[in-house]
């Protein structure tokens, strides 16, 4: 399937411009006192365990020390009123541009962190992170909590006793990333058959089908009517 025409604006006179992205994300200068107060409250209660925070576009990210993870989540629920459990998921910051690389997933391979690895909002020291999103249904505010996990033995405390809904999310994250959740009542396979090897959402897990067969989007690319063959389309 071709993806060439999808970005074109509908107006026929719109030239196919190749100008660099004109609209840059405006730096959020306006202060957000409500969310800053939340960060202050968290820092007051946990001190150094609140490593970093980031406020942008009306949203809040907080990075928490690994050993205080469950306590911070419980505090958010009980004291800050984030009672709605949104999701819990993993994150692998490994920079793997060629996801379909030839390397077959090898659990014993060296887990070197490349120098150009960048972590997102509120930073990160390690390749692996766990994100947890909570929501306050009274003030209609969300918070994303992050925690670093070490690359060689990724482990974090479970929060399934704080939010019962986290049970399945932790099972999923365990299955997809191989993270261990300390104290979880039963880390069993949720999605994949028990014989599945590897952790599919890790960045070094290759999609074997892409190695055998080229991406079909590159093969049957068609130019639009009245248009020269599209050559500026950048492949994967």
């Amino acid at each position: 399937m071709s993806d060439a025409p999808t970005e074109t604006p509908d107006a026929p006179d719109a030239p196919a411009e190749e100008a660099p992205v004109a609209v840059q994300e405006s730096t959020p200068v306006e202060s957000d006192p409500v969310r800053e107060a939340i960060v202050t409250q968290l820092s007051g209660a946990f001190g150094d365990a609140i490593i970093d925070s980031h406020i942008a576009r009306g949203d809040l990210w907080v990075r928490v020390a690994n050993d205080k993870w469950a306590e911070v989540v419980a505090f958010c629920k009980a004291t800050l009123g984030f009672r709605f459990f949104d999701f819990l998921g993993g994150m692998d910051w490994l920079n793997n541009t060629n996801l379909s690389g030839e390397k077959v997933w090898d659990p014993d391979a060296e887990k070197a962190i490349p120098a150009d690895m960048s972590t997102g909002y509120a930073g990160g020291d390690s390749r692996f992170q766990v994100l947890c999103r909570l929501f306050n249904v009274d003030t209609h505010m969300g918070i994303t909590l992050k925690v670093d996990l070490t690359a060689d033995a990724p482990t974090v405390a479970t929060i399934s006793h704080v939010f019962a809904g986290a049970d399945w999310h932790e099972r999923e994250t365990w299955e997809m990333y191989g993270f261990n959740f300390d104290g979880h009542p039963g880390l069993r396979h949720l999605y994949l058959p028990g014989s599945f090897e590897g952790f599919p959402l890790r960045k070094d897990f290759p999609l074997l089908a892409r190695e055998i067969k080229p991406w079909p989007g590159l093969v049957d690319k068609e130019p639009m009517p009245g248009e020269e063959a599209d050559e500026e389309e950048v492949p994967e």
Binding site: L192, F196, P200, A209, K213
Partner: protein, 171 residues
Amino acid sequence: MSLVESGRSPKALTWLLNYGRKRSLWAYQWGLACCAIEMASVYVSPRFDVMRLGVIPFPASARQADLLIISGTVTDKMAPPIRRLYEQMPDPKYVISMGSCANCGGPYWDSYSVTKGVDQIIPVDVYVPGCPPRPEALLEGIVLLQQRIQNEDPAERWRGEPIIVGGGVIS
């Protein structure tokens, strides 16, 4: 039925038997993914109404079904149950593979958990392309299958090239 099996049955009798079989196909409800809703439209929507073709979508189990419509994505976890239920169906049995996912993996062609085509685990008689195919496409697939059943020689069960609705190649 030994007459039929020996292949010496009169032509008229063969025609009658085939006619009976094609007009009373019991289709097992096998809803897998998006296509299941289009299949359900064919089954229960008054606009499409497959029963006017003599297809009855209410067998209680696979053991009473003649036709299996694989409607949707077949995952590696789902493949063993499909194989098992197919084996439970009595002969002669027919399989319609509905939608791109069942045909060849479709949009999940590079997924780590999707079986790239149900024909890897069971033989398929009719392929219906589309993502999902419109109910009309499935109806055409059923009609084509019925034509094939009508012309079938019961003595040696047909095992030829599958039909692809609308022509084309399944890669």
